[in-house]
Symmetry: C2
Subunit: 205 residues, 2 copies
Amino acid sequence: MILCDIGNTHLHFYENSKISTYTPQNLPPKLEGAVFFISVNTQHTQALLNICPQAQDIAPLIHLPTSYQGLGVDRKAACLGLGSKSGVVVDAGSAISLDIMENSQHLGGVLLPGLSAYQKAYKSIAPILDQPLDRDIDLEQLPQSTAQAVSFGTLQSVLLLLKKVIGDKQAYFTGGDGAFLARFFPKSVYDPLLVFTGMQRALKQ
Amino acid sequence: MILCDIGNTHLHFYENSKISTYTPQNLPPKLEGAVFFISVNTQHTQALLNICPQAQDIAPLIHLPTSYQGLGVDRKAACLGLGSKSGVVVDAGSAISLDIMENSQHLGGVLLPGLSAYQKAYKSIAPILDQPLDRDIDLEQLPQSTAQAVSFGTLQSVLLLLKKVIGDKQAYFTGGDGAFLARFFPKSVYDPLLVFTGMQRALKQ
């Protein structure tokens, strides 16, 4: 059995306890056997169906108690991945989503651009702001160059929002930048499988 | 005498105590008399010189004591606009710049995308994230929709960074979104003329 989480940049596959990540352009030519997917991007869904016509969309099986309008199926699956645990799910990919779970209820959520979207946003303003994110930037020192100012702005603003929303709750990080951001929260958990665990729970119910 | 501050989106003119704002595409056909400008965008500079070949770049007159590498001339001018006052200059335009001045010295600065750049960043991730910024979003309530989640993420992360950098210092806001952001800082000053005041100081020296 293969599980597939189709995002806005990548397709993530989970098989035999292993995650493989592809862009829609570099997918394998064929996928055999049972494939279950969720997707937030219809174009990328089509790319999967082209190589794997038998793949099944399990979105109808993903049920999360919430009053939030328009919660993405990947965010629902990640929240289901918590099981009965309460806390904040931070999925840091193309976007950074924060979702608050308490007693198996979804209480609300917040969205930020993903770290690479920040870089593109600066670049779109002026060529001189096209600077790589320095992930080791010292957040205790005032920046002394454009490169530092951009990295400090991105990281400090994202981390301050995360701290504000997380408060003293337990945080569960996932997604491509999840391991990096989790480092700033010593009591947090990094779980790259959160979405897939949620998909497995939905399939078993 | 006309002063002109050429940014990455707009050209701002100051004449007879009045500011007029243009895009490079809708400039008046001609400008007469003495025109002094600073610019962070060479293409837009050319647009000004096309309608006003006599305009003079006063960047060489803008001197600000700093160890910051690559500080934009508009940020220098805004800091000079403080005169001998200490505090944080927040220029909220295409980008949001924060610059810390103490005893007429520039101590460092931070950059964030401008509010409209945030909107474009979300839009570039997924069509569903293309949401207008709700400037009245309640920052005390957890968002319950994608539209709320995006506005909350933008505003809360920007404001938390501003609060962190400003601390108990005096803040001086300028730029297109300066009046709006200043509202969240009751003891702050909104001064749309900060850059022009700095240019005038440089011309008088």
